[in-house]
Amino acid sequence: MWFRAEGSVGRWGFMLHRLTGLALSLYLGVHLVLLNQLRAGPGAWDAFVRLMRSPLILALDALLLGAAAFHGFNGLRLTLLGLGWAVRWQKVMLWASVALAVAFTAWFGTRMISG
């Protein structure tokens, strides 16, 4: 099964891709439901926005961003591999996806928390 990642680094990449995909799909559903607050008008939305700016939510946002960045970069890697391109570079591209995701999370996280 895909969630048994023992073995190659590539399987770890595949497992992480699916786990981040599941988390992002869950977030998409929650995000769409929360946007419904807009129907309640300016007071309700602006109070909701203040809640979303709390440090705990911002920290979760930074983690979400890391998951999205990894999923995006690793998805491009998987697309290339699926087309049979750059196969010999697959491990390098996987580590590059991890490094880019960490860098994005750190950059955006710092920006978000510093306001």
Binding site: W2, L22, S25, L28, L32, G41, V49, G75, M112
Partner: protein, 122 residues
């Protein structure tokens, strides 16, 4: 109808689904970058207040981009969920139910998003 055993979607259909997943994924990398930039990075405090959301969505180009983004992200997410569930080896009947359920969920999400957006910009 009797089940035909473990799912076999066929290589051609599998290729089409893979291509749709890959194309929507590549589009999403650009769309999410744009969405994050416009909705969070350039906004004071990282989130738009109510009046900013409404005036932003009243731009026709923005409305078109955000609606396209919703369609693409929903398609990509549901195809991803489908791929995970298909790896469990469902029967043909379960595969059909899965396709129907995910299709309806996708249509529902897009209709909901468009209806909410139109209510705001009216």
């Amino acid at each position: 109808m009797k089940d035909q055993g473990p799912m076999q979607s066929g290589p051609r259909r599998g290729m089409l689904v893979w291509a749709l997943q890959a194309i929507s994924g590549v589009l999403l990398v650009a769309a999410i970058a744009l969405h994050w930039f416009a909705q969070h990075l350039v906004v004071e405090g990282g989130l738009r207040d109510y009046s900013q959301v409404v005036s932003y969505l009243r731009e026709p180009l923005v409305l078109a981009l955000e609606t396209s983004f919703l369609v693409v992200v929903t398609t990509h997410a549901l195809l991803g969920l489908r791929a995970i569930l298909m790896d469990l080896g469902p029967t043909k009947r379960v595969e059909r139910l899965l396709n129907l359920g995910l299709g309806l969920a996708g249509i529902g999400a897009v209709v909901y998003g468009i209806e909410l957006t139109l209510e705001l910009v009216r």
